[in-house]
Amino acid sequence: MPTSRLPVLLAPLLLIATLALAACGSGKSSSSSSTSGGASLAGQTITLYNGQHEQTTALLVKAFERQTGITVKVRSDDEATLANQILQEGESSPADVFYTENTPALEVLREHGLLEPLAHATLASVPAKYSSPQGSWVGVSARASVLVYNTSQLSPAQLPNSILELAQPKWKGKLGFAPSETDFQPLITSISKLDGPSAAEKWLEGIKANGKVYPDNETAVAQVNNGESAISPINHYYWYRLRDEVGKGGLHSALHYFAAHDPGDLIDVSGAAVLRSSSHQPAAQAFAAFLVSNTGQEVLAHSHSYEYPLRPGVSPAPGLRAFDQLQPVALSLTELGDGSAALELEQKLGLL
């Protein structure tokens, strides 16, 4: 039966052809021009490792390319995976810029000496407290930690004033939380810094007993919205994005802010850095500068991301509480960023 045998014989041929094609393709894509010096940067190509929301990044990249003529190749993945990838790549990393949702991923690269300090003008574009003290990365946008609650199950008057109350028995079976999210450890760290490590451990034990564990904030906010949990600590923007997806008719939840300077009132920052190994330093620095420029911050503010732009004078998306009305706890990003103690505590209690 020659006809039926043909596919089997073809398979290895097909394989060889594909592999050969693939090898050719890769050769082509690895070459990119790297002219440096005072000349215009237009025509250069840089690679961005992107751990931020892809749609927002795409808008930013488009505006940057239009303005500078620099081409940006974007690689998106989970920020922690990208940080691990860059750690493995070391000096040979193809990445020129790294843009993340949270700062610990940037801090770990700084500790390994993989980041190039940013231009002063870039760092000066946003309040210094939102960037790396060493100037290794710049804060680009911010989110507020809040409480989402189910509006059919609870009225605003019933809601807690402090995140510490979530450990009280009255929230048993009503609480949901995502302990493996990067946003979660800063809450533990914050309580630990303000009230001491043993208070933090007690609090964690309490919410473990009260709550349901969700894999991520997206799930947490969705499960509060559909009534599976009544409350959950999240970052504000998850709720706004859910609102857009489910529409008014599907919305059964709202946001609640803790009292001023409560340990649950945190600002989480998204940041960007230039890799020391980058062979396109000027173009990479230009991209970092663009992210905190007026144009870049306006793009952020009008995107679907609902984050707060950090550059003074740029207002956030309509409907968000004004950034200067947020009254976060008085702890620096560096103090909150080192989550190792929080992580150990979570592991000890079996939450991770």
Partner: protein
């Protein structure tokens, strides 16, 4: 065939003897086996290298805490129960489709494979949207069983397709009931396929992570991912992954014992006399059996597809997918097909060696080829990152590297598909006949062996293809920058709540996965027709 496992001290010339037996030195097989082993050793070398950098203090703190025992117990009880259930469902479904007059058999043959082509996230989401309170052990058991049973079904169906039905008919004509015929005649013939499938399920569950997140069931991989994602500590993560390797080795050894117990009970098939099996008439059982198969497909395929439809109808982000979905579908199809061809090609020498030239060395090569199944994809992908960045920089983040990564990740699936077929072929008398007629070994391979193992190759190809089509972790790490597949686009949208926009990508993924499953089911029937003419 003489025993091919003499020990070196008893017999000085044993090594050569072990290779030769009645056949010549299989140069191609040895070369192919060496390449396959080399590829599998890459991530293992990375693992050892990284683990070596981690301080013992940190590793022992992570290993000897209370939660480790809990996590390992969670892993073990899930792996055990889920494997048993997958074996039951996989074998029963395969037997019904291949051996009975079940209505719409061809439809079921395709539908039963498809759950493998649905991303874990869609399956998990489908269930949680039906019942938001679904979580814990039983939920994990149900979801994993429903998504993994095709790993048993597919090799076993292929095994049944090539097993000689004449023997079953003889058994039945001699008065054996359907159950006794199955147990004493059919089961020994498909035993390697059953065990192979179970091996894939067990090892796969050791490394599974994503699906458990959704139902809040924590296994040992949680500890590994915590080190990677929150601790940024690859060294500690790799040290913990060695525990999975160790468990994997124990499981592989155990399977060998089980397989060995049944070795030699296989029958010599008479390929020349192949003809379609006379289907077992279900009679009054038709409706209940049909209902059972329908229920299985409904739960495993209907629930996730229902979730997709729900997203399409109710999602605020639902739009017509952009034209680029065709490009992405093309990438997925081409990458998966190339990976399936590569993995299947590599599996042939691995299995040829271990089945036909069985000695400790060839057996080690085969067992090694199963190990990637027990490792999280992230570990394997980072291993490749680490290797190519140092020694093969031009290949870094190339299509070729991605295809090789898929081939390593899913080599175990290919080995299971091919191995069972090879066991079957090696007991065939046809090769001897062809050789005695003076045919050259290559001719014998092409004209006798290949046609006999073809259903196994098809099953291997389909398993690897479908798994590659939904692969996400390695794809995100290793794809060429700017290249998207259906899985990466799906991930992009779901990580932004745009479920409506994401749904078409998952739907196309399922559709693409249906292609090899369909071709396979056609080919199996075609083979039956060939025997008939």
């Amino acid at each position: 065939m003489s025993s091919l496992t003499p020990t070196a001290d008893q017999n000085p010339g044993s090594f050569t003897r072990a290779w030769s037996g009645r056949r010549r030195w299989p140069v191609l097989s040895v070369a192919g086996g060496a390449i396959a082993s080399g590829l599998v050793l890459l991530p293992l070398a990375f693992l050892l290298n990284q683990a070596g950098r981690s301080g013992w203090g940190e590793v022992s703190r992570l290993l000897f805490r209370h939660s480790t025992a809990v996590l390992l117990w969670n892993t073990a009880r899930l792996a055990f129960a889920s494997t048993a259930l997958c074996a039951l469902l996989g074998v029963a479904a395969a037997w019904c489709v291949e051996r009975t007059n079940l209505p719409a058999r061809r439809l079921w043959a395709v539908a039963l494979v498809l759950p493998l082509g649905i991303p874990d996230f869609v399956i998990g989401f489908g269930w949680v949207s039906i019942d938001p309170s679904l979580h814990g052990y039983l939920a994990a058991l149900m979801i994993m069983t429903l998504s993994l049973y095709p790993l048993v079904y597919l090799p076993v169906a292929a095994g049944l397709a090539r097993a000689d039905p004449a023997l079953e008919e003889v058994a039945r004509s001699l008065g054996l009931g359907a159950w006794q015929t199955f147990r004493r005649v059919t089961l020994p013939q498909i035993w390697p396929a059953v065990l192979g499938g179970c091996l894939l399920v067990t090892l796969g569950l050791l490394a599974e992570y994503g699906a458990f997140e959704i139902v809040q069931y924590q296994t040992f991989t949680v500890a590994i991912f915590t080190e990677f994602k929150l601790g940024f500590d690859a060294a500690a993560a790799c040290a913990l992954s060695l525990v999975l390797v160790a468990i994997g080795i124990v499981v592989l050894g155990g399977e060998l014992t089980l397989a060995g117990r049944n070795r030699g009970t296989g029958t010599r098939p008479r390929e020349g006399a192949r003809r379609p099996s006379s289907a077992v008439a279900l009679g009054r059982l038709t409706v209940p059996v049909l209902a059972g198969v329908f229920a299985l497909v409904g739960l495993a395929l209907g629930v996730p597809i229902g979730a997709l439809v729900y997203w399409l109808v109710h999602g605020g982000s639902t739009t017509l997918p952009s034209a680029s979905i065709l490009t992405e579908a093309g990438h997925t199809a081409v990458f998966s097909a190339a990976a399936a061809a590569l993995a299947t090609t590599l599996a042939v020498p691995v299995c040829a060696l271990s089945v036909r030239h069985r000695n400790r060395f060839t057996l080690a090569i085969e067992r090694l080829a199963y190990l990637p199944q027990a490792l999280p994809g992230l570990v394997i992908a980072l291993g490749l990152v680490s290797f190519t960045i140092r020694y093969a920089l031009p290949l870094y983040q190339s299509t070729l590297e991605l295809i090789v990564a898929y081939a390593i990740l899913f080599l175990p699936l290919a080995v299971v598909g091919v191995r069972a077929a090879m066991v079957h072929a090696s007991s065939s008398v046809l090769e001897d006949v062809a050789r005695s007629l003076g045919r050259r070994p290559v001719t014998v391979w092409l004209r006798v062996t290949l046609p006999v193992i073809r259903p196994g190759l098809g099953a291997a190809f389909a398993l690897v293809f479908v798994s590659s089509a939904t692969e996400l972790t390695a794809t995100l790490l290793l794809r060429p920058t700017g290249v998207n597949t259906l899985a990466t686009q799906f991930w992009t949208y779901t990580s932004d709540f745009s479920y409506g926009a994401a749904a078409p990508y998952a739907a196309v993924m399922v559709a693409i996965s249906a292609v090899p499953a369909y071709v396979l089911s056609r080919r199996v029937s075609a083979l039956a027709r060939i025997g008939q003419s």
